[in-house]
Amino acid sequence: MSGGDRKKRACDRGQGWEEAGAEFYQESYPAAIEADLQQALQRDPSHIATLLPSKKSRVATAKRIRNDTKTTLRRRTSTRSRGTTTSRRMSTNIHDAAVSMLPDLSENLSNEERTWEEIMQIKAMPVCMAQKIQLKNQLQSATKLRLQGFEQLKWQRRKAWQQFRIRMKEAYSKMELWNDSLKTIGGNFGMGIVAYFLFIKWLLYLNVLLFGIIFLFIVLPATLLDMPEDETCVNSNNSHSISCCSELYWNITQESGNIAGMLEYTLLFYGAYSHMTYTSGIFFNLPLSYISATVGVFIFSLVAIVKSAAKSFKQRVVENEGQFYQYCNLVFGGWDYCIHNEKSAAIKHKALYNEMKAFLEAERLEEERQNRTREETTKLFLMRLFINLIVLAVLCGCGIFIYYIFEFSFNQISPQTDETNITDSHLSLNRIVHLFFEFLPYMCIVILNFAVPSLFRYLVSLENYSPSFVIRITLFRTVFLRLSSLIVVLTSFYRLIVTEVKDNECTNNTSKRPLCWETFVGQQFFKLYITDVFFQFFMTFFINFPRSLIAKHTENKVLRFFCEQEFDLPKHVLDVVYLQTICWLGLFYAPLLPLIAIFSTFVLFYIKKFACLVNSTPSSKIYRASKSNAFFMLILLISFILFTVPVGYSIAEIEPSKSCGPFRGFKSVWSLLIVVFAEFPDWLQSILYFLGTAGFGVPAFIILTLLLYYYYAVSIANKHMVTVLKNQLVLEGHDKQFLLNRLSAFIKQQQDQNKYHQEQANELGTFS
C-alpha cells in the first residue's frame, strides 16, 4: 500500500469524524423523530408503547429510509453492523442507529471480503429494489481495503464456491423431477399433500441409490466377470454334492415351461449368482460382495431414514410447545400461499373455518368430558372394548385366512408342476389356472388390505374418540393389518423352508422344499410387489375414476355420497410404505427388486397424482406439511426395523440351499463372513477379537451411559432455563407496562397542566 494512499485515507477519516460528529448529534436527538414522538403523544399519550425499540420491526426503520433518502448513507452503516443476527436486528431504532454509529466509523476501512458479505446481506432487507441497487452501488464504490495474500486467496475461494453453488442450484433445478406436477398439486391441495408426493420422490431417489449399490457390487460383476466353471458332477463321487445339486437344479429350470421357470435362472433372483471366486487377473469374491452389498443397502437405508426423521424430529422438539400455539399456527400459518385455484381456495377457506370451529369444539368437549356421568363412561368403555375385540378378531381372521390360502394354493401348484412337465404344457387353460393359483394369495392379501380398512373406518366412528385420535387409531389398526399379513406370509415361508436337509439329498423332498428356496422366496415377493402395484393401478383407473365421474355428474344424493372420495392421506402413505417394505424384504432374494421399485415408484407417482387431482375432491381436513413428514418417516422407520429382523434372521440362521446361489455349501450365510474373518491378518483378527470381549465392552458401555446421562442432564437444564427466561420475559413485560403507564399518565398530567396554565394565561389576557 502506498504512502499517499494511506494519507488520503487518513484525511478521509478525519473528515469522516467531523461529519460523523455532526451527524451523531443529529441522530441522537433527531428533530424529525422528536417531532414524531410529540405528534404521537399529542394524539394519544398511551400510544407511547408503540415507540419502544422492541416494538419496531426493521420495516419501521426501512420506512424512514424511504422518506428520508438523504440519511440513507448513514443508515447504511447501521444496517451493515447489524449483520445477520436477528436479535440485534430487532433493536433497531433511533438508539441503535446512534450506537452503531461509533464502532462503524472506526472501521470505516472495510475490506473487500466484508463489503462482499454485506452486498450478499442486502437481499434480506425489506426495502424496494431501487434502494437495494443504490445500497449496493454505494457499498461497491466505497473505499475499501484490498485483501492481501492468503486472505485474498481465501476470499476468492469463498466467492468461487458461492458461484459454484449457484450454478449447481441452477443445474439441479433443471434436473428436478416433477416440479410442475408438484406445483399443480400444491395449487389444488396445499402443502400437506405436496409433502406426501415429496415423500414418494424421496423414496424414488432412495431406490435409485439402493439399486446403484446393488448394481455395482452384485449385478455388474456377475455379468462382466466370466465365472470359472464349477467342477462337473461326473467327477465327484457323491451324487448329492454341491455340484450335482446345482446341475440338477439347472436341468429342472431349463425343462419347466412356465413363466416363473423361465425367470428362475435369471439375474433377477438369487439362484443365478455364482458361488465361485474370480481369481484370474483380478481377485473378486462374489459371495462376499453379495452379502456386503446387502448389508450395506440396509445400513444405508437406515441412515437415510434416520437422518430424514431426525430432521423433522429436531423441528418437533423446537416446536414441542407447538401444541400450545395451535391458534397462532392456524391463523398465521394456515393459508397455503401456493394455492392458485379459486375452487381450492374456497375449500381452504371452509377448511380453515371448520378447523377453527373444531378447536373451539374440542375445548368444549374437553369440558364435557370432565363432566361426564359415571354411567355414560361405563357405557362408552364397554363399547370401545367390544369394538376393539371385534377388530382383534378381524385381524386374527385375516391372518388365518391368508395362511390357509397360502397352503391351498401351494398344494394346488405343486402337483401341477409335475403334470405340466409331462403334458409339455399344451393346455393353455391349464396354464392360466396355474397362474391364477400362483397369484391367488397375493390377490387375497391385496383385496383384504383394501376392504378391511373401510370396515375399521366405520367401526371407529362408533367409538366416539376425538378427531385427531381417530386418525391415529385407524392408521394404527391398518398398519397392523398390513404388517400382519406380511408376517403370515413370512411364517408360511418359514414352515416350508426350515427343515433338516440330509447329506444325501439336495433338498428335503418330504416337505416339498423347493430346490432353490431363496429364488422361490424372491419370486413370491416379486409377485406380491407386482400384484400390489397392478392393483393400485387398477383401483385408481378402473374403480375410483368411474366413481369420481359418477359423483361429478349425478344429482342423486345417495349415489354421490358413495362415489365421492377425498384424498385420504394415511391410506395412501400406507400404500407406498407397504411397497417399500416388500422391496426391502425381497432385496436379498431378488437383487434386482430395487430396479423394479424404481420403475413402480415412478409410475406410482403418476397413479397417485391422478388419484389426487382427478379422482378426489380437496380434503376438508387440514394436513400439516411439517407434521405429516415426520409421520411418514416414523411409519417407514417402524416397518423397516420390523422387517429387517426376519431378513437378518434368515441371513444368520437359515441354511442356504445346496443347489443354487452364492452361498451353496455353507451352513448359513453368516458363516461365509466367519471364513473370511479367519483369513484376515493376525493383528487385525486380534484387534477385532478384542473389540468383542468384555474388556472392551464394559468400559465402552459405561462411557456411553455416562455420555447419555450427561446429555440428558444438559437438556433438562436447558429446559429449566427456558422456563426461567420465559418467566423473566413476562415479568419484564409487566414492568415495562407499568412504567409506560406511569409515564403516559405523567405526560397527560403535564399536558393538562400546560393547558390549564395556558387557559389561565388566556383568561388573564382577556381580563387585562
Binding site: T50, K55, S57, V59, T86, R89, I119, M120, I122, K123, A124, P126, C128, M129, A130, K132, I133, K136, I166, K169, E170, S173, N179, L182, K183, G186, M191, E319, G322, Y325, Q326, Y327, C328, N329, V331, F332, G333, W335, D336, Y337, C338, I339, E342, S344, A345, H349, K350, L352, Y353, M356, K357, F359, L360, A625, S626, L729, V730, G733, H734, Q737
Partner: protein, 184 residues
C-alpha cells in the same frame, strides 16, 4: 426466453441475482410471468408499473385472501401498484430459498392492516375474517379465538403482538415457512 433476455443486460441480471434469492434464470422466468400479466405494456417498458388490479391477476395472489395487502406491502409507491422490481422482490421473499426471518418480517407487514407496527385486536380480527371469508365466526367464537391467540402469543400482556412476539411464534411454527411460499 429470447425476448426476455434481450430486455436485460448481463450486469442487470447479475445485480438482480445478488440482490434477490433468485438465480439469473429464475429472474428471467419471473419476468416472463410478469410480462404475461400485461404483455403489451411490459413489452414496451420492461419495468412498467402495473396497477394493483393487474397484479392481482397472478393466480396465487388472486386466490389469496391477503392479495391486496401483499401488493401494498411490496409496492414501492405503497399504493399497491407494482413495477417489475417490486414483483421480483415479492417473488424473492416468497421463494423457497428466503430464510424464515425475512418471510416473517414481510408476513408481519402483511398482517398489520393499520400500519401501527403492532398486530392489535383489530388486525387479528381482520386476519381471521379474511381466512374464513364467506363464512364468519360468530361474535362469541371470534372473541374466544382472539383471546386464545393473545393468550398464546402476547408475552407482555399489552393486548397486541409486537414484531418480536410475532417472530417468536413464527420461530416455533414449522408450517409457516412451508406455507408462506409461492413457487415461481
Amino acid at each position: 426466453m429470447g425476448v426476455g433476455k434481450s430486455q436485460f443486460s448481463e450486469e442487470e441480471l447479475q445485480a438482480y441475482q445478488d440482490l434477490t434469492y433468485f438465480t439469473k434464470k429464475e429472474v428471467l422466468h419471473a419476468h416472463q410471468k410478469f410480462k404475461a400479466l400485461a404483455p403489451e405494456k411490459v413489452g414496451h417498458n420492461r419495468n412498467a408499473k402495473l396497477p394493483m388490479s393487474k397484479i392481482l391477476q397472478y393466480p396465487e395472489l388472486r386466490a389469496n385472501p391477503f392479495g391486496d395487502r401483499i401488493c401494498k406491502v411490496f409496492s414501492s409507491s405503497q399504493d399497491g401498484d407494482c413495477t417489475f422490481e417490486d414483483f421480483l422482490d415479492m417473488m424473492s421473499v416468497f421463494s423457497d430459498a428466503a430464510p424464515k426471518a425475512v418471510k416473517a418480517e414481510h408476513a408481519f407487514r402483511i398482517f398489520d392492516f393499520d400500519g401501527d407496527d403492532m398486530l392489535g385486536i383489530g388486525d387479528l380480527r381482520q386476519v381471521v375474517d379474511r381466512l374464513t371469508a364467506p363464512q364468519r365466526l360468530n361474535e362469541t367464537d371470534m372473541q374466544q379465538v382472539l383471546q386464545y391467540i393473545l393468550d398464546e402469543a402476547d408475552l407482555d400482556d399489552d393486548g397486541a403482538l409486537s414484531f418480536a412476539e410475532f417472530e417468536h411464534i413464527i420461530e416455533k411454527s414449522s408450517d409457516f415457512s412451508k406455507s408462506f411460499c409461492i413457487r415461481l
